[in-house]
């Protein structure tokens, strides 16, 4: 009896350890529309690495989605609570700017992702790649700095 329980527990632990911890897609992004309101934050044609971590227990990712846009010296994260990234989704920001100016509490205020068009429309644990066009309203907290990105995504092995 005890042996059976122990074996069952062992199998359960094995199953858990095989399950994905997290699944993310990374890619390049270009800013294809960056208004002058953005100042020196981002300009037309600037490229940044993007990481998309969509919500989903099958991906090992929990209930929130994250869109992270990183330059070589700064990082901006849009957290979408309880949803995939999608047109009209509210996001909470967190960032480390290039001067180490920070917004460390992404529950303090929300903005939105005003558009999100992805091909394919959904990502599963076996989707290798996707393309996405999206607009972040109030990038780095700058009012009027609504940036449209073209990005490709590759699932990280």
């Amino acid at each position: 009896m005890k042996l059976t329980v122990a074996l069952a527990l062992g199998a359960a632990i094995l199953t858990i350890s095989v399950a994905r911890a997290e699944t993310a897609w990374v890619g390049n992004s270009f800013a294809v529309n960056a208004p002058s309101y953005c100042g020196s934050t981002i300009g037309y044609g600037d490229s940044n690495r993007i990481t998309y971590r969509p919500a989903g227990s099958a991906l090992g990712n929990g209930t929130d989605s994250y869109v992270a846009i990183l330059s070589q010296r700064s990082a901006f994260v849009a957290r979408v609570v309880g949803s995939l990234a999608k047109t009209g989704a509210a996001y909470s920001p967190l960032w480390v700017g290039s001067h180490l100016n920070i917004d460390a509490d992404y529950n303090a205020w929300t903005s939105k992702i005003s558009s999100w068009t992805m091909t394919p429309a959904t990502l599963s644990a076996t989707t290798d790649s996707a393309e996405v066009t999206f607009t972040i309203v109030k990038y780095y907290g700058k009012t009027g700095c609504d940036v449209t990105f073209h990005a490709n995504l590759e699932r990280t092995p």
Binding site: R49, A68, L70, S74, S98, H99, L100, A104
Partner: protein, 162 residues
């Protein structure tokens, strides 16, 4: 009534200051000289080990009034993860239990704010100002890139950002 002299001085001061620069920071490269095994637990995309090179930014509070306390140092791993440490005991802290807040993003895109510890830390100029073109910093930081159990020792060279 209308103080022409004060206004002129203020106008000249604005002219002299050139392009508005809110913060004075130095940017450079950091090399990891040692790292615990936890830092290398992920894939080759995410692992950090002795020899890893990272982009780094340092912002000593002494350099400008707008560099509000505390001293800060940031690391960026190939535009895939970033961490900024707010060093409550400063860049010249010689102990091993300095208190820091880490803010940034993991290799999987998750934004984080956590408390961690650091030290010792060493900076080549005690109170850097914008007249110091070069800085060196070395030290030890914990929970590097928000990886539990990942302690990293590094040394870094910096250039004043124009």
């Amino acid at each position: 009534m209308f103080d022409v002299r004060a206004t002129t001085i203020a106008a000249l001061a604005i002219l002299a200051s050139g392009p508005a620069s809110a913060f004075v920071v130095w940017q450079g490269e950091a090399v990891v000289t040692s790292a615990t095994t936890a830092c290398a637990a992920g894939t080759s995309r995410t692992k950090i080990a002795a020899g890893t090179v990272l982009r780094s930014v340092v912002r000593p509070m002494s350099a400008d009034a707008s560099n509000i306390a505390p001293d800060r140092i940031g690391f960026n791993h190939d535009s895939q993860s970033e961490v900024a440490f707010l060093l409550k005991n400063g860049l010249a802290y010689t102990g091993t239990t300095g208190s820091a807040t880490a803010v940034g993003v993991t290799h999987y895109g998750v934004g984080k704010t956590t408390a961690t510890t650091y030290g010792p830390m060493k900076i080549s100029v005690a109170k850097p100002t914008a007249s110091n073109p070069y800085l060196k910093v070395s030290g030890t930081v914990k929970n590097f890139m928000f990886i539990t159990g990942c302690t990293v020792a590094f040394r870094a060279g910096y250039v004043l950002r124009p």
